[in-house]
């Protein structure tokens, strides 16, 4: 596959993932499964942009790692905050 074709395909993947999120937003219920799917969708979208649009896939390891870690941490926080809201509220109460 040529570089251009890879980029075209990834763009379509990003669009499809966004529509999946929108569909989930319209559903009334929030469950562990739906929150996990949204977190994974964010992780995948972030990784595609970092690796292929920003072209960091083969770039300097420090820069690549910093940018990739962002899209592990935020999705993980989404899941942790969904699972343990009361505990986090207790720990962060002034």
């Amino acid at each position: 596959m040529t570089h251009t074709r890879i980029i075209n395909t990834l763009w379509l993947v990003l669009i499809a993932l966004t529509l999946l999120s929108a569909y989930m937003a319209e559903r009334a219920d929030t469950s562990f499964i739906s929150v996990s799917i949204m977190a994974v969708v964010l992780a995948v979208k972030g990784r595609i942009i970092v690796d292929h649009f920003m072209e960091l896939k083969k770039a300097h390891i420090v820069l690549r790692t910093l940018m990739r870690v962002y899209f592990y941490v935020i999705p993980l926080l989404i899941i942790i905050v969904y699972l343990f809201p009361e505990q986090i509220a207790r720990w962060t109460a002034l």
């Binding site: 570089h3 251009t4 980029i7 075209n8 763009w11 990003l14 669009i15 966004t18 529509l19 999120s21 929108a22 989930m24 937003a25 319209e26 929030t30 929150v35 949204m38 977190a39 969708v41 964010l42 979208k45 972030g46 942009i49 970092v50 292929h52 649009f53 920003m54 072209e55 960091l56 083969k58 770039a59 300097h60 820069l63 910093l66 940018m67 962002y70 935020i74 926080l77 989404i78 905050v81 969904y82 809201p85 009361e86 986090i88 509220a89 962060t92 109460a93």
Partner: protein, 208 residues
């Protein structure tokens, strides 16, 4: 003896190897300076996301109800527009590498158009919110929503202006297939604005 003596002669000029070490470019797209800016901005957005998470755990009802009163259509459309603009910017980079500056400028104009569409949709969304009685002081969810999204709105504004500047530089023949670091800098900065939005979208519009 002579060879030994010459080895003690202090070198006034750095060797080719030393020079190579100094000028050897780290393997990063664009310049180091733009990456400092990007990492600083990503950190700024990260702080906003932490504020969002903390406000959410302390106000679960408000953050459950908040997204239901926002326009999912506006949020989704703007996500599609941002992702598409990023795609256009990648195509502009591919075009300049293929020595097609005119094509590259056209892709960037398409990205600018996306930036403008984004700003118009966001303005309509803010107006729509106002008619629904949603404002910064309505409750903490909308306070966070306006703070984060307006901050991002400004980024799209000056990012679009930056893209126009890069188009001007392409049209004046400054960027070639071999030398177009300024275009790459703007491209990665624009992708950062896209990254911020794809994170904001699920947090404020989707997750309850």
């Amino acid at each position: 003896m002579n060879a030994l003596a010459s080895s003690y002669v202090p070198q006034t000029k750095p060797s080719a190897e030393q020079l190579n070490f100094v000028v050897k470019k780290a393997n990063i797209p664009g310049s180091m300076a733009i990456w400092f800016a990007i990492l600083a901005e990503m950190s700024e957005f990260a702080i906003m996301f932490v504020v969002y998470f903390l406000a959410k755990v302390h106000n679960p009802e408000l953050f459950h109800e908040g997204p239901t009163r926002l326009s999912t259509l506006a949020g989704t459309t703007n996500t599609l527009v941002m992702l598409t603009s990023s795609f256009f910017v990648v195509r502009a980079v591919i075009a300049i590498r293929a020595n097609k500056p005119k094509q590259s400028a056209n892709w960037l104009w398409a990205a600018v158009a996306c930036g403008v569409i984004y700003l118009i949709i966001k303005a309509f969304e803010y107006h729509w919110n106002t008619t629904q009685g949603l404002a910064t002081e309505t409750n903490i969810f909308y306070g966070v929503y306006y703070y984060v999204t307006f901050n991002h709105f400004l980024h799209v504004g000056w990012g679009s202006a930056g893209l126009i500047w890069v188009i001007y530089r392409i049209n004046t023949g400054i960027y070639t297939s071999n030398e177009h670091e300024g275009l790459i800098n703007m491209a990665v900065y624009w992708h950062m604005i896209d990254l911020a939005w794809i994170t904001i979208f699920p947090l404020l519009y989707v997750i309850r």
